[in-house]
Point group: C2
Chain length 337, copies 2
DNA sequence: ATTTGACGACCTCCGCCGGAC
DNA sequence: TGTCCGGCGGAGGTCGTCAAA
């Protein structure tokens, strides 16, 4: 079943069928309808390879997913996949370790699969223009920006929450509940990543509310939002015997690990210690206690990432930098002091 | 840079270059070397679209993922993606709703992307041969079989745990801990799916240990392993005032929802009620209490699915039906009576 | 003026035939 | 006779161009 068969059945030329299929205007309504009718009944599907060939491109959009244990990205990937499908492209995902180089991975993927565009799910925040010359197609940084790097805004697009502000709001929520001795468990304070941004937001909130920062209340776990490291980190904090009434973690899964550590040490949440996080996974609503967390708008982030990418790919639209709002979802893991 | 350019530079014909590139034997060693040398220095990469076109195939392997909220599939997809990458193919995922028709989705995907093979992540258990004629490439059913259908074993491959046995073992574990009044929360007892299989395993265990089945201890939630429905189901059970000391759920996430419902009604787990599940997600180790669950070998299942598919695709190997073992991971959610 | 047909180019592979040694 | 290589045509869909109705 090729375009020729359709043309023959309809009694028109191959050109005409092609024009109909590609929505060219210069086809009469009657012919157009007949062709579409026949395409439907014959169940004809255009040969994508031939299409790609003549257009000297593929319909592939790469998605580089960095970090394996990240449930947040897993949810996002579904939305992105659906949007890419809807637009008639093919999503080509590649999963890499959290310490791998996503730019290199993207560049390889681009050449291997002749990508039309790229979406990065998670990555570093400090690229230089030189590093990014490897990427030759439009790309969108999803869930992170390049705020520590020297990349010009016009050279890339990004979709994320305001990480600094979100951590600020989370901390602020704890403070407004009366907490003053607030601990934080972060992968790193200075790795020029999402972790550093959120940590800075935490510090800003303390400062604005006149709370002195106590370095004993800070745990750096290293790694990249892993649950075992977080569990261990909180255990260290507890062994120090330092006093605190609330704990900030930077993701939902690490919050669950943190709560576990607290509970295993006989501290009940939130009575003995409140816990707040950032992400808003579905499963967090069934944690015990229900997690209080800043919900990232996953659906919207995925949808907008694809929209921006397609707009740049197809219409040469300028880059965009979208900051979406994370909203507090009050659970049972935070209580007033 | 096309095959013509290479031919011109080498002073040979296009046919000869093509023969070299495709490792045909009838080319002299000297010519072969010169062509390969030139391909290397010129950085020539064959046009994949043209190649796919003429071979009327692509390097795409489709993965139809059924059910969105399933964290287990999210983990599996990563393993499958890596294995497909490693083998030099391209993974093309498609996410569909849990009530959508995965065969139709697979057939559409197959034609759209010219798939070489298909992996189904989750699906029905009762296909007939007629339904599967839509699929024209080798495929592997991952995490389920077709035991309720009339498909012949030789017509498809499958990789899964033994669902009946796994639910049996889970129930057995509760019984050996002294439990006799065991409730079960299942999506359905008779939907000819994974749910029914596991439910049957539950009933078999009760029977073998001489425990009378009490229909009051059974909750059907409908749907497909959703947390809200499970939560509601357990609430209904509790409202009935029926007595039970243990609860079986069929997945980790539903177990978390069930524990939440129990705890919200003032029943502590495991003191007032033990809970056991099937899946073995990472996050379940940080639930409160840590979930006791039958761990599915995710990595191995993903790896084996790809291996079997490739073997069939490339070597015409016969179909395989692999039953892997789910192992008990003892947590804190089950206690002796 | 609008609609339609015909055609070549794009790129690669493969089978086939023919020529050369 | 066997080995090596050249050349041709077909398969696929799109798109611009030109011609024709």
């Amino acid at each position: 079943m090729t375009i020729k068969d359709i043309a023959k059945v309809c009694g028109v030329s191959v050109s005409t069928v092609s024009r109909v299929l590609n929505k060219h205007p210069d086809v009469s309504e009657t012919v157009r309808r007949r062709v579409l009718q026949e395409v439907e009944t014959q169940g004809y599907i255009p040969n994508n390879s031939a299409r790609d060939l003549v257009r000297s491109r593929s319909d592939a959009i790469g998605v580089v997913v960095r970090g394996t244990g990240n449930l947040f990205f897993a949810e996002m990937l579904k939305t992105i996949g659906r949007e890419i499908d809807r637009a008639g492209y093919t999503m080509v995902p590649r999963f890499i370790d959290s310490d791998a180089d996503e730019v290199k991975a993207g560049a390889i993927l681009e050449r291997e699969k002749k990508l039309q565009g790229l979406i990065f799910l998670g990555g570093r925040f400090d690229y230089t223009p030189a590093e990014l010359t490897l990427i030759g197609v439009p790309y969108v940084c999803c869930s992170y920006t390049n705020c520590f790097g020297s990349l010009e805004e016009k050279d890339y697009s990004s979709v994320s929450i305001d990480d600094h502000l979100t951590a600020y709001r989370a901390t602020e929520h704890l403070i407004r509940c009366g907490h003053r001795r607030i601990a934080a468990v972060v992968p790193s304070c200075s790795d020029r990543s999402i972790s550093e941004l959120r940590y800075d937001g935490f510090r800003s909130a303390l400062r604005d509310y006149g709370i002195a920062f106590d370095s004993n209340l800070l745990v750096e776990t290293g790694g990249c939002f892993e649950m075992p490291e977080t569990y261990e980190g909180v255990c260290r904090l507890l062994r120090c015997g330092v006093d605190f009434t609330a704990l900030l973690t930077l993701s939902d899964t690490t919050a669950m690990a943190a709560m576990k550590a607290l509970q295993d040490h006989g501290r009940s949440v939130p009575q003995d210690c409140s816990v707040i996080a950032i992400d808003g996974l579905n499963v967090s609503e069934y944690a015990n206690p229900t997690l209080t967390t800043m919900v990232q708008p996953v659906e919207e982030m995925g949808r907008e990432s694809v929209r921006i990418l397609l707009d740049t790919m197809e219409n040469g639209a300028p880059t965009e930098h979208l900051r979406l709002e994370a909203k507090l979802r009050a659970g049972q893991s935070v209580c007033d002091l």
